[in-house]
Amino acid sequence: MTVHVDQALLQHVAKLARIEVASEQAAATTAAFAAMVAMAERLADVEVGDLEPMQHPDHPYPDARADEAGAVLPPQALEANAPRFGAGGFVVPRVVE
């Protein structure tokens, strides 16, 4: 698969990625992105037949532990890292007007 990388594709992917690409950076970012995609296109040169994709190393994994609540951090420990905290909860941006 040969992908035609242009600024339109870059902006489409950037929107999906929730990244802003400023217009003055678009040409350089597109060039770098095109080089990365070209590298990835080399995968098509490898004969893979119907091999099952490997998503994790094939090592032993533990059985799922019991679904029981364990120790949790006190609210004060979490509050310290919140951008805003008030009335016992995290203050987040308004999403519904």
Partner: protein, 492 residues
């Protein structure tokens, strides 16, 4: 920065403290002094001198009371800045996490404390581990202790520099595509990446979850093994940590190369020869030395090495794009100070303001590889190539105990070298990504350089959970090689 006496390694430090030949406080002060003396190399992001000295004094007091000491009691160790330590800042080298302080310990941190280690501070890294040179992080570059105008390698460059200058006997790094082994090779220290699942990842800032492991950088192979023994083992807080007991080095293996079957993949050393002949010469000389010491060199055929880099970067960036989606300025991370934005704009602005260029590029590639119309040709196919590579490596174990290859195709490059094409830097990972794709353990050991003093690493890979075989091979290299000089420092 030459020293006549190299700083002690992990085992020598622990033994000296246990025997009362040196206090933990003295060992810690020496490490802190080394960090201060070479602050210009950018190894540390933050030192916790007070906390380290407090721990050291507690070890000395425990010894004075005749209490049993942990295996790493009093040994100064640093942590890469993506490994959580309670009440320490944790930035992962990113503006995104500016101001964050961890309210808990990573499992590896907790285990180091339990073993009696003295935690020195946070060391420098590439942003979220994304880099091969420790140049993309918010703290600025880490500099090579052998030539400060050259890179330290990455992404655990701060760890490698800290160990090389004697600012701690060991350091924990993380290795997603070579990030422990590459800086170890370029700075002349040992780097050990354990088998996937050997070490808990709980409390480690995620980059690519199916590839990364916490690893150890140390002055010698046995020091790295001792730290691995302390941090490894099953963990109820990480569902990918294998249900196995902690690693235990087999002391009976000794340092004897006799009988060791070393697989040498055809064409790998020649690939380095084309990039940097000095690397190939050093690897050839080391392998010849091991053969003379009784090892058997076995030619092995492993194809598709170049495709390994492509597969790695597609899989790693795809996993990164999902792992880093949590940083939206709402649930996690920096929030833009701009007002009046819609939610989508707020998220995109927050991410764009605080992720660096390389992280943004990798998120873009990963998002692309997972997107409709491209998933099968890129992400799924990368998984198939990964399977093919893993099958090929698995087949090699019939004929050999370890695979040997260069760690890096080149010695440390200059900090001012420009790479307009990001994939030119990715090519530095050509020999290291294989172990991550396959989930196998790998070790980088410094070898003698025939040319200038810039370090060169020989890498071994072994079957899953066979770190003890790596330790044996690494000991054999050290026995053949002998002691190495300390870094000379400064511009060459």
């Amino acid at each position: 920065m030459s020293r006549e006496t190299p700083p002690m390694g992990v085992l020598a430090t622990a033994q000296a403290i246990a025997r009362g030949e040196q206090s933990a406080e003295a060992a810690t002060r020496a490490a802190l002094d080394a960090a201060d003396a070479h602050a210009d190399l950018g190894a540390f992001v933050e030192l916790d001198a007070d906390g380290a000295l407090e721990t050291a004094r507690a070890v000395d007091a425990a010894r004075a009371r005749g209490e049993a000491l942990g295996p790493l009691a009093g040994v100064p160790i640093s942590l890469k800045d993506n490994i959580a330590a309670r009440d320490w800042a944790l930035s992962a080298g990113s503006r995104m996490l500016a101001g964050y302080r961890s309210p808990f310990d990573a499992t590896v941190t907790e285990r180091l404390r339990a073993a009696g280690a003295v935690l020195l501070g946070r060391v420098n890294m590439d942003e979220f581990g994304m880099g091969s040179a420790t140049t993309t992080g918010v703290a600025g570059p880490a500099r090579n202790p052998w030539d400060a105008e050259r890179v330290a390698g990455g992404s655990s460059g701060g760890s490698a520099v800290a160990v090389a200058i004697g600012a701690g006997a060991a350091s924990l790094g993380t290795d997603t595509g070579g990030s422990v082994r590459l800086p170890a090779a370029l700075c002349g220290v040992v780097g050990l990446k354990p088998t996937y699942g050997r070490v808990s990842r709980y409390g480690v800032v995620a980059y690519a979850s199916s590839l990364e492991q916490v690893g150890v950088l140390a002055r010698d192979v046995d020091g790295a093994a001792a730290v691995l023994a302390a941090i490894s083992g099953a963990c109820p807080l990480d569902a990918t940590a294998a249900p196995l007991p902690p690693f235990s080095p087999r002391s009976s293996d000794g340092a004897d190369a006799a009988g060791l079957r070393i697989g040498v993949p055809e064409g790998f050393v020649d690939k380095a020869r084309a990039a940097d002949p000095a690397v190939a010469e050093a690897i050839d000389a080391a392998l010849a030395g091991l053969r003379d010491a009784g090892a058997t060199l076995v030619p092995v055929r492993l194809e598709e090495l170049d495709a390994a880099v492509a597969a790695y970067y597609v899989i790693a960036t795809a996993e990164a794009s999902t792992n880093l989606s949590r940083y939206d300025g709402v649930r996690y991370g920096h929030r833009t100070s701009e007002t009046g934005l819609g939610l989508g704009e707020l998220i995109a602005r927050s991410r764009t303001e605080s992720f660096g260029d390389e992280v943004q590029r990798r998120i873009l590639l990963g998002t692309f590889a997972l997107s409709a119309g491209y998933h099968d040709a890129f992400y799924a196919r990368a998984g198939q190539v990964r399977r093919k590579l893993a099958n090929a490596v698995a087949g090699a174990w019939d004929d050999c105990d370890v695979l040997a290859m260069p760690t890096s195709p080149v010695r440390a490059w200059r900090l001012d070298q420009r790479f307009d094409d990001p994939t030119a830097v990715y090519a530095m990972d050509v020999f290291t990504v294989l172990a991550n794709l396959c989930g196998l353990p790998a070790l980088s050991v410094p070898v003698r350089s025939a040319g200038d003093a810039m370090p060169i690493g020989l890498q071994f890979m072994a079957p899953a959970f066979e770190e003890a075989t790596l330790v044996r091979a690494g000991r054999a290299v050290q026995a053949w090689r002998g002691a190495l000089p300390m870094p000379t420092g400064g511009p060459r």
